[in-house]
């Protein structure tokens, strides 16, 4: 990709020719406040927060303006401060501000912008209406939709249409009544939403939040255990439990995308119904046993069978290493090639 040179706040930077001013700035660790921009999505330039001053051109929306050789960009000036404040004040006008208990606290684009702009309380409340009190849509078992925190950036809507091609949600109504809505306005769970959670991942504020917002203590790379696509995941661990799953953006197969099972279907791992002890049938009942007893018993019984009286099922849900050992056991120890698995089912 051809590079161009431009200056942002006096700093000369180089950027790929197909980038916008906002992208070039962010890649060079220069923050320009923004809300409706998302790297995965088309640029719609609706929030007006990413305004910059381009020499010879004046106020410019940076998320949509392509970089050009020799551009001179200012990200801050008295004028910019002024023009940025109004849209942000409007966004705060009916935003529910229970920040400390909000699952998005400390990871919220609106907080970040307010902090960057240095808004004072009276400035913040200048255009403030009575706080919105729309009902929260908690119909989905995995995430909640709180319209009182929506900033109308449209990222969820564009995610659902551009990336997922599902189109479960869109803007409804006009002006102050604008809402992100399902078709007909019913609860999300009754819409055509597939619960993939891709909108939840991208929501810049607390309008779309997973039901459980506890953060993991560490994350471990893995591969989703459901279908054969093999999406890369990051298992979130807290203590001895898996508490979250994120799509692995580095993985070449899914590039971070996940479906409902991949993202939210991990609860079986720590299910109380898991088998935790070997079981042996005694007097018709399966009763708990120690490993030595169970293994010795199984080994003894299998050993008493002739090679052509025994069969082995390997597992499409186990690892390559597990399966290699299982078929080796079948062939080299039990002496039979009657080893198969559920590939046909």
């Amino acid at each position: 990709m051809e590079k161009v040179k431009l200056t942002i706040d006096g700093l000369e930077i180089s950027a790929d020719k197909d980038k916008t001013i906002l992208q070039a700035a962010l890649e060079n660790d220069i923050y320009i406040p923004h809300l409706c921009y998302h790297p995965d999505l088309e640029k719609v330039a609706v929030c007006r927060v990413c305004m910059v001053d381009v020499a010879g051109r004046g106020l410019t929306i940076s998320c949509r303006a392509p970089v050009e050789e020799g551009l001179v960009v200012k990200t801050d000036s008295e004028e910019l401060k002024k023009v940025r404040k109004v849209p942000v004040q409007l966004l705060f006008a009916n935003h529910k501000t229970d920040c400390i208990t909000c699952g998005k606290n400390d990871d919220c684009e609106l907080q970040r912008i307010a902090k960057y702009l240095g808004l004072e309380a009276d400035e913040l409340n200048r255009l403030r209406f009575a706080e919105m009190d729309d009902p929260i849509d908690d119909s989905n078992p995995f995430f909640d939709r709180d319209p009182n925190k929506c900033v109308y950036c449209g990222i969820c809507i564009r995610t659902c249409s551009e990336l997922q091609n599902i189109n479960a949600i869109d803007f409804s109504n006009r002006g102050y009544s604008t809402r992100v809505s399902t078709f007909g306005g019913g609860p999300i769970v009754e819409s055509r939403c597939e619960s993939c959670g891709e909108c939840v991942v991208r929501c810049p504020v607390g309008a779309l939040l997973p039901k459980t917002t506890e953060q993991p203590a560490r994350e471990v790379k893995s591969v989703c255990t459901y279908c054969g696509v093999g999406c890369g995941i990051l298992l979130g661990v807290r203590g001895h439990k898996i508490v979250s799953v994120r799509g692995d953006g580095e993985n070449i197969v899914n590039r971070g995308s996940l479906c409902v099972k991949g993202r939210y279907g991990f609860g079986f791992i720590n299910s109380p119904e898991r088998l935790t002890k070997p079981l042996i049938r005694k007097n018709g009942e399966l009763v708990e046993a120690e490993w030595d007893e169970a293994l010795d018993f199984a080994a003894e019984k299998l050993k008493s069978c002739k090679s052509d009286e025994v069969a082995v099922f390997a597992s499409a849900k186990c690892t390559n290493e597990d399966n290699y050992v299982i078929q080796k056991f079948s062939r080299a120890v039990l002496g039979t090639n009657s080893v198969d698995h559920c590939a046909r089912l």
């Binding site: 990336l163 091609n165 255990t225 070997p278 069969a311 597992s315 080796k328 198969d340 590939a343």
Partner: protein, 529 residues
């Protein structure tokens, strides 16, 4: 898959046949939908009007079990209109003339009569696929789970070769594998006819190689497949079963037969993470570690070997499967099972599996590699068959085909075709997904999808409990009246133990692949009460 998941975006035409992609392979379906949104042509061929049809340019709603007729009809159009890729046929394939001869009978009228698809639609799809330049075929169990599943796959391979749509980006014959490591389980020789790397057990060289590596004498007799094991158990020949991570009582066709076979067996060892419906038949149950509790590798549908890492300790006294099997082996006097880690095992298996020969834990630490990857400098193979095919001549062989009917067709007593399907919210027999409360809420029970015309005929309203009956069994299930299914065809998933769909299905198998015909059986439905 001959090609890669990401490669789907390179196709200018995608034919998705016998795959309910958005439900069964949702993230791969994103690539299909995005390609269609960007202008790639999408042809969906499916007995049901699945969600993917919303994105399709052409929807071919053929009757279940008529894929060969549909594909042969499309290929006849391509040949008749001279749309085939002659240079590819001449340079890369053989047996074309014999194959061409077998197309003769598949006139559009004949195809329409068998498939129910208007001839002109099939012809238009054929032209669209042939004209695309790069066209990819995706398929899944809708193609394979038939008594003529092998013919279906051969028809797909014929179509790809006829138009030269194989061996280059944006093309390919792409089966979408169902389970997270079904590809790997096959690669590792979890099959009765092959050692790891598809080295045949009846090939003396392969046998000698594994005898040397494992230090034992091996049997050159091909073993029994999954479906046949249960038949032999009922006949008293198979007396014991060691079963890892599988639930045949719900997943096997004609499940009643499977249950009887499991009851009859003398000794069953089950190794699993839950006490499944099948584990309840066991004499010994060994608790395995889940995927999050052990290190290892899995191989996805595009042949990519990827690393998984242990995130937590196994719950309770559960142990990794490789450890459990090795313990059994050692207690039975087996040698060569003293593994200290999965990496030990991987080193052994990659030294014996040529297509995995160049893969190591170090190399796939960050990103997986696609086999064949024969040596440590090899970058892996995103696209198969780019220069030659893995046959003796190196050429792809056209196979002449006949249309064969499904084993059990509807009649006066059992007038409806039942075809099985998958839900987005559950997985296979739901051993795992039914333990997730939210997934249970999103899809809480089995539904029998039935066309409004059929529902009216049998006096069934939406939400009624009905009894579905086949020659093999009966199942109570809630009816969903929907025109997703055409008249004469009903569908059910097999995710719910409360409505065990496979009590109904037909265990007749494909003679080559030994796959049961779960996509077509005859049933009747009647309202309960």
């Amino acid at each position: 898959m001959t090609n890669s998941v990401a490669d789907i975006g390179e196709a200018s035409c995608i034919l998705a046949i016998g795959t309910n992609t958005t439900q069964a392979h949702p993230v791969l379906a994103l690539n299909v939908k995005r390609a269609a949104a960007k202008g790639a042509k999408l042809i969906v061929a499916n007995p049901k009007e699945i969600v993917l049809c919303e994105h399709a340019d052409i929807f071919l709603q053929h009757k279940p079990g008529t894929d060969v007729a549909l594909l042969m009809g499309m290929m006849k159009v391509i040949v008749d209109e001279n749309l085939q890729n002659d240079s590819f046929i001449n340079e890369r394939t053989e047996n074309f003339e014999e194959f061409k001869e077998s197309l003769k009978k598949f006139t559009l009228d004949y195809v329409e009569e068998i498939t129910g698809v208007p001839g002109e639609n099939a012809a238009e799809a054929a032209r669209m696929y042939a004209a695309a330049g790069t066209a990819s075929i995706l398929y899944a169990m809708g193609i394979t789970q038939h008594t003529h599943g092998t013919d279906n796959v051969l028809a797909i391979a014929n179509l790809a070769m006829l138009t030269g749509n194989i061996g280059k980006p944006g093309t390919g014959v792409n089966p979408l594998r169902g389970q997270n490591n079904v590809q790997g389980a096959c690669d590792m020789g979890g099959l009765p006819n092959v050692y790891p790397g598809y080295q045949r057990v009846d090939n003396p060289d392969a046998k000698a190689k594994f005898e040397k590596a494992w230090g034992v004498k091996l049997d050159d007799k091909i073993g029994l497949t999954h479906t046949v094991v249960f038949d032999k158990a009922l006949e008293g020949e198979i007396k014991a079963l060691y079963m890892v991570g599988e639930n045949p009582v719900l997943s096997e066709a004609d499940a009643g037969h499977t249950r009887k076979a499991m009851e009859k067996m003398d000794f069953i060892v089950v190794q699993d993470i839950f006490l499944t419906e099948s584990a309840k038949f066991a004499d010994v149950v060994l608790p395995g570690a889940s995927f999050a509790e052990k290190d290892g590798t899995v191989t996805n549908t595009e042949r990519r070997v990827q690393r998984t890492y242990k995130a937590i300790e196994p719950v309770g006294d559960a142990k990794p499967d490789w450890w459990i099997t090795s313990q059994l082996a050692k207690r039975m006097g087996g040698k060569g099972f003293d593994y200290n880690s999965p990496e030990d095992i991987f080193e052994e298996l990659s030294s014996l599996t040529p297509s995995y020969g160049g893969i190591s834990y170090e190399r796939i630490k960050e990103q997986g590699l696609q086999w064949p990857c024969p040596d440590s400098g090899h970058p892996g193979t995103p696209i198969l068959h780019s220069e030659k095919f893995p046959s003796a001549s190196g050429k792809g062989k056209f196979v002449p085909l006949e249309y064969r009917e499904s084993d059990e067709l509807p009649d006066d007593e059992y007038p409806l075709i039942l075809t099985t399907d998958r839900s987005l919210f559950h997985y296979h027999t739901s051993t795992m997904t039914r333990k997730v409360e939210g997934l249970n809420r999103l899809n809480s029970e089995e539904l029998l999808n039935i066309n409004p015309a059929d529902a009216e005929k049998y006096g069934i309203s939406d939400g009624d409990m009905v009894q579905a009956v086949s020659r093999r069994g009966e199942v109570n299930v809630k009816a969903k009246v929907t025109d997703i299914c055409p008249p004469g065809v009903v569908s059910m998933t097999f995710h719910f133990a409360e409505s065990p769909t496979n009590e109904l299905t037909n265990a007749a198998i494909d003679p080559v692949a030994k796959i049961p015909e779960t996509k077509v059986c005859a049933i009747k439905v009647q309202k309960v009460g």
